[in-house]
């Protein structure tokens, strides 16, 4: 049997060109499938880890998914704001340990600006409850001070001490708040969450830059210089959303009901974990479609292998008859063909994994810079190993076909092949 396997290897090597092409097809298909699985896993990971340690996210009444989109991912706009007294009512509720207001609507070169309070940096958690850390500097203290997320600072080349101006709205070329520049006092360490893409300022700053504005445009003839804003009441009248931490998690549903039934104005409170799952479900179809497509590509690759082996079989009829005459059993012939297919599958699969690793190593800096996606080289995860095993199992099935045919052929041919 060992002799036959050794001969199978030598025979395969003699046909390395055709088998190599089948191998490349399998390698590319495997790399694609593994890449989709990797991206799927990483996207889900960074998605579900984007916020933690927050018990409730509260905004004006809207859909839970929409609330999460603008309050956590700073994507899209709130339809309505929340009055400041509603915030105070929730913040002072006996079950509430802390509440952080968020005010959105401005941007800096495409990055969202969030007005909040300095205790945001203290209470916000991501991943498995990790707190935010400052790469440099400290939280903002004065009105015209700002703290940048790591990606904002990195991609725009900012450091603490630099000055930036904000833009009204989300457009890159919106009306400018150029008269009131902000000093960068801190840059956060990378988190892999939307915080990395956020410019943080104080709530008062948001009020201040809009003092001489009305209805989304500067008031003509009115210009309040930065140094005079202190004379005004900078207490915000409205905010966009708030994050709530409870003294006891057991109170979460009670407080959620309380907020949802709040008399002052229509509010919505969602549990971030539940809402993220719901949001992910809406993306899951795309993800599943991609997965199914790449699985089909693998099947096509393996079908190509079967076709290659079957096509080669007729030319090898003589070879198989010689092996039979030398004493090889039909089982050995079957094994020879099956092992060949399995070997090509296994090598193709490994080449695919290597290809993916090489791709990640090459593209990781680009992906980080352009899409903010953090790709990391790491050993295959459990689900990736399961996929590799599935490819191998399917490759075995694909190889059984030529193996079976060779068996039948060698039984029918005996020692003298009929060509």
């Amino acid at each position: 049997m060992k002799a036959v396997l050794l001969l199978a290897l030598k025979s395969a090597w003699a046909r390395r060109l055709t088998l190599g092409i089948a191998l490349i097809a399998i390698a590319l298909a495997s790399a694609l499938l593994l890449a989709v699985e990797r991206v799927r896993h990483d996207a889900r990971q960074s998605f579900t880890q984007s916020i933690s340690g927050v018990d409730l996210v509260v905004g004006a009444r809207t859909g839970g998914v929409q609330l999460m989109l603008y309050a956590v991912f700073h994507s899209g706009n709130a339809t309505n704001n929340i009055r400041w007294d509603s915030f105070e009512a929730i913040a002072t509720h006996p079950a509430v340990a802390w509440a952080v207001p968020l005010s959105m609507g401005d941007s800096h070169r495409g990055y969202p600006v969030v007005g909040t309070r300095a205790d945001f940096f203290e209470h916000f958690r991501y991943a498995a409850g990790q707190p935010l850390a400052f790469a440099t500097g400290k939280p903002f203290a004065a009105v015209f001070e700002t703290v940048l997320g790591s990606e904002v600072a990195q991609s725009l080349g900012y450091r603490t001490g630099d000055r930036i101006t904000l833009t009204h709205g989300m457009a890159e070329l919106g009306a400018d708040h150029a008269d009131k520049p902000f000093a960068i006092v801190g840059v956060l360490a990378p988190t892999g969450t939307p915080v990395d893409r956020t410019v943080h300022v104080s709530l008062e700053a948001i009020t201040a830059i809009h003092l001489d504005w009305a209805g989304g445009a500067p008031l003509p003839g009115l210009n309040i210089p930065a140094e005079q804003v202190r004379k005004f009441d900078l207490q915000p009248k409205e905010i966009t959303a708030l994050l709530v931490g409870l003294k006891s998690r057991a109170d979460v549903f009670r407080l959620q009901r309380h907020i949802n039934a709040y008399k002052g104005e229509p509010l919505l409170a969602v549990l971030p974990g539940v809402a993220l799952d719901e949001l992910w479900q809406t993306l899951a179809m795309v993800e599943r479609t991609l997965f199914v497509l790449s699985a089909l590509v693998v099947l096509v690759g393996l079908a190509g292998l079967t076709a290659t082996l079957l096509a080669g079989l007729n030319e090898r009829r003589r070879e198989l008859a010689i092996l039979r005459a030398l004493g090889a059993s039909p089982q050995a012939i079957f094994l020879m063909l099956t092992v060949e297919g399995l070997l090509v599958t296994a090598l193709g699969m490994l080449a695919g994994a290597a290809l993916l690793a090489a791709g990640i190593a090459t593209l990781a800096p680009l992906a980080q810079a352009h899409f903010g996606v953090n790709l990391a080289l790491r050993p295959p995860s459990g689900s990736e190993l399961a996929l590799l095993a599935a490819i191998l199992a399917t490759g075995l099935l694909a190889s059984l076909v030529p193996g079976w045919r060779a068996w039948r052929m060698s039984l029918a041919d005996g020692l003298t092949p009929r060509n």
Partner: protein, 228 residues
């Protein structure tokens, strides 16, 4: 050494038998020329002697063992241990060197490995005896001429001293002059290892070299062969 008795073989889905042999025997060391045109059931007879086909009934005795009653695996092993085959042409694995082709039986049969003494030396000796130039030994078989390939095939059939040699039209791809040389070499070497030789051919002119000449038509009572 070889004894067939009351043998009947029928291919699946065929009405009449393709072989019906009452008695066919070769003594040890005998060199027999079996004349049979294609279509006379020649291939079927060789398949039965090689143990890759099993008769419907009858005995296929080789070295005193009825191989028709053995399991498929035992028959395959028996073939590897005791029989050397030479076919018409394309005898060799084209991607192996001439030398490695000669050594093949020793990887399939421990018995022939042992009987070869030192297989590498024995392969060299046989290739030398069969007059194959040294510079061809390590070339892929595909690069050899047909005549050279047949000599390598003979060396492969002879290595490890199998008791039975079966040659199926081994010279039909060679020109007349080379046919003579090849048959002389084969007969000499078969005698040297003491093998019983069954030489099958349609070409009566070659019969003169052999101890005994038989016609398959005379021993086969079945009306026609299988066409194979």
């Amino acid at each position: 050494m070889i004894a067939l008795s009351d043998l009947v073989f029928r291919w699946p889905r065929q009405a009449g038998p393709c072989l019906d042999i009452a008695d066919f025997a070769l003594a040890t060391g005998e060199r027999v020329f079996l004349q049979g045109p294609s279509g006379s059931g020649k291939s079927t007879l060789l398949a039965i002697l090689g143990g890759v086909a099993v008769p419907e009934r009858g005995r296929v005795e080789l070295l005193g063992q009825d191989i028709a009653v053995l399991t498929g695996h035992r028959r395959d092993a028996f073939r590897a241990d005791h029989i050397g085959f030479i076919f018409q042409q394309f005898n060799l694995l084209p991607w192996l060197s001439a030398r490695d082709n000669v050594l093949l039986p020793c990887t399939f049969s421990a018995r022939r490995y042992a009987r070869a003494g030192n297989p590498a030396t024995e392969a060299t000796r046989l290739l030398e005896r069969l007059d194959l130039a040294v510079d061809l030994w390590d070339k892929p078989a595909a690069e050899l001429s047909v005549g050279q390939q047949q000599r390598v095939a003979a060396a492969r059939a002879l290595i490890g001293k199998p008791e039975i040699l079966i040659a199926d039209e081994p010279t039909s791809a060679l020109d007349a002059e080379r046919q003579q040389v090849f048959i002389d070499l084969l007969l000499t070497e078969a005698a040297a290892v003491g093998a019983t030789l069954l030489f099958v051919s349609h070409d009566q002119r070659l019969a003169a070299h052999f101890d005994r000449v038989l016609s398959l038509a005379d021993i086969n009572r079945a009306a026609t062969g299988s066409g194979a």
